[in-house]
Structures are given as C-alpha cells and as structure tokens.
C-alpha cells in the first residue's frame, strides 16, 4: 500500500502497535554495531534456535541501541500486557535459559537490569517485578531522549513501528497544515542549533536558504561522523533511520527543495545498509517520491557513501565529494545556504539535527524550547567513553553540568580512580580539567573554556592518562586527516606533532612549549576550514590546564601519569610477586625472567614499556617507576 492520507498513517500505526505489543512474547535484541561487537548476533541465533527447539512461538526482533554500551548485549523481553524487562550482558547460554524460562511461563530475575516503561503501551499492562525502571538507573536518570527516542525500542527497519511511536506525525503536520514558511518559523521558535557541533541556529540557516535565489535547492544530511570515540550518528542511522529521513523531507518542504542527499561514511556498513533499506521502503510507501501524503510536495533522497576522509565531514568538502570532486574544503563565504551543492542554495545539517527536526514538528516548538536552557534549547547526544564507570550513548538536555554528566551518568572514574579531565568534541575539542566540571554543557561555555561542543564525543581521562600523550594522540589523528590544502593545517599539525613526540620521548625543552603555543595559535587563526581551525584545541587546552604535566616532561624528564615509555621503567616488587609466571608468559619482549613461585625480574634493556605485565599482574606487584 501507499500512504496517501492521515488515515493510511493511522492504519500503519495500528499495525506498528500490534508489532510492538503483540499478543505473544516479543524478544528484542539490541543489534546495532555496538551490540553486534559484543556478540548480539550469536545471542539472537541462540534465542531463535532454542525457541524453535522448544516449540515456543514468539516474535524475535533485532532492534537498535539502547545506549548502555557497558551492558551490551542487551535483550529485552515483553510478555503480553506487561512492560519490557531488559537483560544485560546476555550470552548465548543465558539466552537459551531465557527461552527455557519463558516456556515455563516465568521470566528470570537473574541478569535483569530494569523495566522499560512503555509510555504508549496499551493500558492493560502491569509492572511484573520489583526491578527499577530504566529511567531510574543512574545511567539514565538525567537523560532525556529526543533524538534517540526510538533507539533500541523499535525494529529500525519496520516503518510501522516508527509510525506507532509517533513517526511521520511531524511530516503530516508540516505538509498538511503548515506553509513552508511556517515550518521554518517553527524550527526558529524551537531554538534548535546545529548538532554537528557548530551550533548555528538551524531555523536561521533554513531561512537564509529559503530566501536565497536559485533553483533547484538541495537538502543534505551530514552523516560523515569520524571523531575517534564518537558514534552518535552511526547509532541514530542504525537504530532509527526514518527519524532522519522524515526530518529531511520536512526540511525539503520548508526551503523548497525537491531533492536530498544523505551522506554516510562507508566505514559504517550497517548504517549504510539500514538507511538504504529505509529509503527504499519509504519510497515504496509513498513517503518519499512524488506527492507525499497527497500534499503535492515531492522529495527524492539519494544515499552517497563517503570514501574515508575525515575532512569530508566539513560541509564544503562534503559537498565537493557529493559532486564527485576532490573532497577538500573551499573558503566561506559563500556559505552553502546560498551557494552549496552545484552552486545551488543548500541546507546541510547533521544526522542528529534532522532527527531533532522530525520530533520538533511532531511535538511542537514550545515543547522543544522547554527542554534545556535559554539560548541552548533541546537535547544533545554524547558518546561517553574513556576512563569512566558507565560508558555509552547518552542524551541530555543542554545546560547539564559536566559534573552531572561524568559523575552522575558516568558513575565517576573507572575502578574508583579519580577523573582528571574530559575531552569534549573529539580531536577538534579540548581537554577540560576536573576543576571546571561545574561548567554547564552548552555551545558558548565550552567554546569559552577552549573546547567545543563538537559532534558529541566525550572522552573521560583519569590519573593514569598523560595529557601530553593525549594531545599527541589527537594531533596524530588530525595530522593524518588534514587534506593538505592549506599551509597552516598541513605544515602546522605536523610540526606540533613532532614537538609533542619530542616531549614524550624526553627530548623536549621549555622553548618547545612556547613554540608549540605559537604554532597552535597560528594554525587556529589561519587555517582554511574547521579541521585546521580546531585541530590545535587539544594542544592549547592541555597547555592551559595541564601545563605542570608538560613542565614535568621537559624539565624533570618525568611523566606524572606513568605513560610515556621513554620516561618510565617497570619493576617487579619482589615482596609482592608470587611467581605465578603470568607476566612472563605475556611479555612480548621476553624481558621477564624468574623461577616458578619465585619473584620475577624485568630486564630494563629488553623491556619495551608496553605495560602488559602491569595490566595482567593479579597481585599488583608491578610498579611503574616514573
């Protein structure tokens, strides 16, 4: 069937609801890339095979990501009339037990994490257990899901389930009740700002493009996420592709663009696969193509796969890449809103921005503007990773403090270690120290502190992280990803990298620190595009907030975190060593010797300071001499 009217949407909504809340057991396995990486596929198979073997009739579905990466693979089970129970760290063995329990008619409590309350569930449901509700868990307590509203709850490719949870209501409202200008006004009123990290007011960008001369106009979705440790866009595309597609159609209607391009990096094969399928399905259902919902407005969408250049996340480079040209940035102005794809007015927004747009049109600008704080409304998605107890994908209202994010949601440092700082905004962001954790997360505050919001990476660092090493790590990335077009980025990132390497190797001097700063300021002010303009941020912020660590390296030849290989030595404490031989077996350099049950010894000449022995020693008998 094709969706032609609101009634058709209602029909699909009913189908979706019965798929989400079937009259038999429904088991959902989180099978986004994060789940698959921890073995969700074998869990899924075990569930299927065991259910078949036991003759259990059930609906087994693959959903997207619930965000709690720490606890993957996540499986949730719903019995008719009940809320969903989420099981954490499910193994194939546990999966088979789960089926056996279901056959007996009782859900096990072992391994159960929480209950997902279903706000749109039929009223007959009952709370089956004493488990906490998912939103009550510390990890979820301060989260508010807008962009990730369906992530992990629906089968990403079942359009009916997306519609059942309010999908395409925004598009229906826009196309059938609002003028294009009214849609732009709605987005302006919501206060939404670019979630790719720049934070430019989305509505204002749309208005500029709508007012610009030239036809055709284009809509582009930037899904070329490439920051190390960041996977927000991937998850949205894998877990809820229709929310992005719907947002783009709304954008097309608002600015008068009949055509859109969804640019997704090819290193995200599952995201590519799912958006491709979703675009096809939306087309079959008449939600892409000509005369959508009988409104007379038509919109077609093409998927373009990025070819592996980080710089193509920069909007002008991305447009060049779509055009089939060399993926390198060009000077702005003119901005894409007036001269973008093939020189035509183009709105280019991030995956999360488009995902927000569909929610805003469905629920209204006032609702959205009520989330977050003045000037920074709505929610933002972070991938909270690094040396933090709870890792995962979190969505919070803007204005939450770093403290609430890292200590509250993240649960503090890993293994109880003290958190030293956090890198926001990926390789383009900065390292902020723990003493600034009272700062609210918003575009302006982070920029003033020397970092950026960026697209949402948040890497937590503890006392065992060397900040010079961190700066060098990010510089290595930006240096490798610099397209080489402009002099400051091409020459400057390499020069900074070389100086940082010198410092890490214990060959740096005080002069190097000034030189580093001089180059960093130049690269920041003189570079052509955002990559170069932000690449020095890790250097500048670590110099600003952790200068004592740099000084320790250059003045004392000392790495306080015990990371830099040239500045540390590893030693076995004979009074603690039990002679278990674990380190001896693991040492890749053959630097450890010792008799069984006798204290072992490390030969510093052979030792490469890889710290493998330090990590494996069961009795903490290995000391890092700093």
């Amino acid at each position: 069937m094709k969706v032609r009217t609101r009634t058709d949407l209602d029909t699909l909504r009913a189908e979706g609801l019965s798929a989400l809340y079937p009259s038999r057991a429904r088991i959902a396995v989180g099978m986004a890339t994060c789940g698959l990486a921890t073995g969700a596929a074998s869990v899924y198979q075990a569930l299927r095979d065991e259910a078949e073997a036991q003759g259990l009739e059930l609906d087994l579905v693959a959903t997207g990501c619930l965000g709690y990466c720490q606890q993957e693979p996540l499986v949730d089970v719903r019995l008719p009339g009940q809320d969903r129970i989420v099981y954490a760290r499910v193994t194939p063995h546990r999966a088979r037990e789960l089926i056996a329990a279901l056959v007996r008619g009782k859900l096990p409590m072992e391994g159960a994490l929480a209950v997902i309350p279903q706000e749109d569930a039929p009223p007959d449901r009952t709370r089956p257990t004493d488990l906490p509700l998912l939103p009550e868990l510390p990890f979820y307590a301060r989260q508010q899901k807008v962009i990730l509203r369906n992530s992990g709850l629906i089968d990403p490719l079942r359009l009916e389930e997306y519609i059942a949870r309010g999908g395409y209501q925004g598009l229906a409202r826009a196309l059938l009740t609002l003028s294009p200008q009214a849609v732009v006004d709605e987005v302006i009123a919501s206060g939404l700002r670019g979630r790719g990290g720049g934070g430019f007011p989305t509505g204002r960008k749309w208005q500029i493009c709508r007012d610009a001369d030239g036809t055709p106009k284009y809509i582009v979705c930037n899904g070329d996420e490439g920051d190390p440790g960041a996977y927000m866009d991937r998850t949205v595309l894998e877990s809820d592709p229709y929310s992005v597609i719907e947002g783009m159609v709304i954008g097309g209607y608002a600015i008068g663009a009949p055509e859109g391009y969804l640019y997704v990096r090819d290193e995200y094969p599952l995201a590519v696969e799912r958006v491709t399928e979703a675009v096809t399905r939306a087309g079959e259902m008449g939600l892409l193509g000509g005369d959508i919902l009988g409104s007379g407005f038509g919109f077609s969408l093409q998927i373009v796969r990025g070819a592996g250049a980080f710089v193509c996340g920069e909007e002008t480079a991305l447009l060049a890449s779509i055009e089939g040209g060399l993926g390198e940035p060009r000077p702005k102005p003119p901005y894409p809103a007036t001269s973008g794809l093939w020189g035509q007015p183009t709105v280019i927004n991030n995956v999360k921005t488009w995902g927000s747009v569909s929610a805003i049109l469905a629920r209204g600008a006032d609702w959205y503007a009520g989330i977050g704080v003045e000037g920074n409304t709505g929610t933002v998605v972070f991938s909270l990773v690094g040396k933090v107890a709870n890792t995962g994908l979190v969505e919070v209202p803007l204005g939450l403090t770093l403290q609430e994010m890292i200590e509250g949601i993240g649960g503090g440092g890993l293994d109880g270690k003290a958190v030293k700082g956090v890198q926001t905004g990926g390789p383009s962001g900065g390292c902020l120290p723990a003493r600034l954790f009272q700062l609210p997360i918003d575009y302006e505050t982070l920029t003033e502190a020397g970092s950026i919001m960026g697209s949402g990476g948040m890497v937590v660092m503890d006392e065992e992280t060397c900040m010079v090493d961190v700066a060098r790590y990010f510089l290595t990335f930006t240096m490798d990803e610099s397209c080489g077009k402009c002099t400051p980025c091409r020459e400057g990132t390499r020069a900074m990298h070389d100086i940082l390497t010198r410092i890490i190797e214990g060959k740096g001097t005080e002069v190097d620190l000034d030189l580093l700063e001089e180059i960093a300021v130049w690269v920041k002010t003189s570079s052509l595009c955002g990559l170069g303009q932000t690449a020095p941020n890790p250097v500048l912020t670590t110099l600003r907030y952790f200068r004592d660590e740099y000084t320790a390296h250059v003045a004392e030849g000392h790495c306080p975190a015990g990371v830099c290989r040239a500045l540390i030595e590893l030693r076995i404490l004979p009074e603690l060593c039990t002679g278990c031989g674990l380190c001896l077996r693991e040492c890749p350099a053959g630097a450890i010797t010792g008799e069984k049950k006798e204290p072992h010894v490390i030969d510093p000449q052979l030792c490469t300071r890889c710290r493998l022995c330090y990590d494996v020693c069961p009795v903490d008998a290995i000391e890092i001499v700093r």
């Binding site: 060399l326 000077p331 610099s482 397209c483 080489g484 077009k485 002099t487 400051p488 002010t525 003189s526």
Partner: protein
C-alpha cells in the same frame, strides 16, 4: 561600489571583489602563491592574511574574503603579520631551494627558519601545492589532466596514477602559471615532454617551414575558436610572415588602385 579602508586609506572597489584586490588598489603589498586573477579564489597558501577591524574583528585570508561596505582592514596588524611570517617560515623550511619563497619571505622580514622539514624522497622540491596548475588546467583549459594526489604532507600534484595522461593537451599553461617554476617542460624534436607529469605529446609541424611548434592535441582549441582556426596551421613565425604578406599584398593592390 563599496568603500574599504585599507591601513587608513579609503579605496572603492566593486561589490564582491576579494579583499586582496582592495588592498592592492590601495598600493599595499601582500604575498600570495595561490591567488591568480581569472581563477576562483582558492584560499590555500594563507599568505595574504590581514586583520579586519570593522565591522567585526577577524584575521582572514584576503584573497577569499569578499569586501563589504565600510570594511576596515589592517595589513600590518601584529597578528596578521605574525600569521604571514609563520606561514613563510614554514614554507622556507620545506622549500629552501625555491627562489620565489626565499624572496617572498625576505620581503616579510623572514630570512631563516626554525622549521626545517625535508621533503619526502622523490617529491618535487619546488612545488608549494598552491594548486594554480590544477585549477588552470581544469577551470580555464578544460582538460583536467592533473589533480592532487594523497593528503596532508603526502599531498602532491600529478596525473591519474602518475602515468602518461591522455587528457593533457600539452598546452603548458601549468608551467606558465606556476609561481615557483616547479613544472618542467621540454620540446625535443616532434615531442613535447612534460617531465613533471610523466607525459609526452606529439608536436605538429608547420606546413610552411617544417618546424615543430604546437602540441597535436591542442587542435581541440581550434574547434573552440573557429574564427582563427585556419591561421593556426602555421607556426607563429610563418603566421606572422603570412599575415604581413597579406597586408603588404593588400596594400600593394590598394596602392595600384589608387595610383593614377
């Protein structure tokens, strides 16, 4: 025409002109490598940095920043000078053998570099990656025979796979526009050798004198300019001779006609 104030001096330039042109109109010098009138601004070398003081404050590359009414810029603002000098210092470190870079650096007061950076083996030691050759070939000649290869400090210019190019018409515009003389072209007998591009093109001989003078693939230009196509069969010398003869012939005829 918007008025722009350059170092306190008011100049009028057409709307949308690159700031660099306004600076030049005011008689001020700025170093550039990648800027060339007739090609779209590229913003790669970052040598033409100036400080905008009105209506906002920013350090920008003047070649790719369009002028606005009542804009004020300072070419000698310390942050702009520092940006230009550092860029030149880095270029000097990378291309110490380039006269162009040495002279440009000297003009900005940079005579030594703290950043010696040897090029990769086999790299063109004069190519400063300004992209003029790539753009002239693509945007003006329409051949697009060369482009950038690699990224970051691996970036270089070449033909696809760095082998003989079928798209190159041997016109030599790339060598002509190169600011550092990095592109080597040699005519040997009936062959033009574009050493830098690993490409050879056949030269055509002049039907009058037999001299090899124009790359054969350049006949495509004849199609683009039919009005002069005929005279292009001759080499420039014979063409001049031919034109002179025609004129002299016409003059003689006219003289005879006018003669009593």
């Amino acid at each position: 025409m918007p008025d722009v104030i350059v170092d306190g001096q008011r100049v009028s330039v057409p709307q949308g002109t690159p700031l660099l042109e306004a600076v030049r109109a005011a008689g001020e010098y700025l170093p550039t490598l990648c800027y060339q009138e007739g090609l779209a601004p590229y913003g790669a070398c970052r040598l033409c940095m100036v400080a905008i003081t009105e209506p906002c404050t920013a350090v920008v590359a003047s070649c790719s920043y369009p002028v606005e009414e009542d804009m004020a810029v300072e070419t000698k603002a310390p942050e702009a000078v520092a940006a230009r000098r550092l860029a030149l210092e880095f270029l000097l470190g990378r291309y110490p053998r380039s006269d162009t870079i040495r002279e440009m650096a000297a003009q900005e007061g940079v005579s030594a570099t703290r950043f010696p950076a040897p090029l990769a083996e086999g790299a063109n030691e004069l190519c400063v990656l300004c992209g003029l050759c790539v753009r002239v070939c693509r945007d003006l000649i329409g051949a697009a025979a060369i482009s950038f290869i690699g990224r970051g400090s691996e970036r270089r210019v070449g033909t696809p796979f760095e082998v003989q190019s079928d798209a190159c018409i041997g016109c030599g515009a790339c060598a002509e526009i190169c600011p550092t003389g990095a592109i080597e072209i040699e005519d040997r007998g009936h062959t033009r050798i574009l050493h830098t591009w690993n490409t050879k093109v056949e030269l055509r001989s002049c039907p009058a004198c037999g001299k090899f003078f124009a790359p054969a693939p350049m006949v495509i230009l004849q199609d683009m300019m039919p009005e002069v196509a005929e005279s292009w069969t001759l080499c420039p010398d014979c063409r001049r001779l031919d034109t002179s003869r025609q004129w002299i012939g016409e003059a003689a005829t006219q003289a005879r006609r006018l003669a009593p």
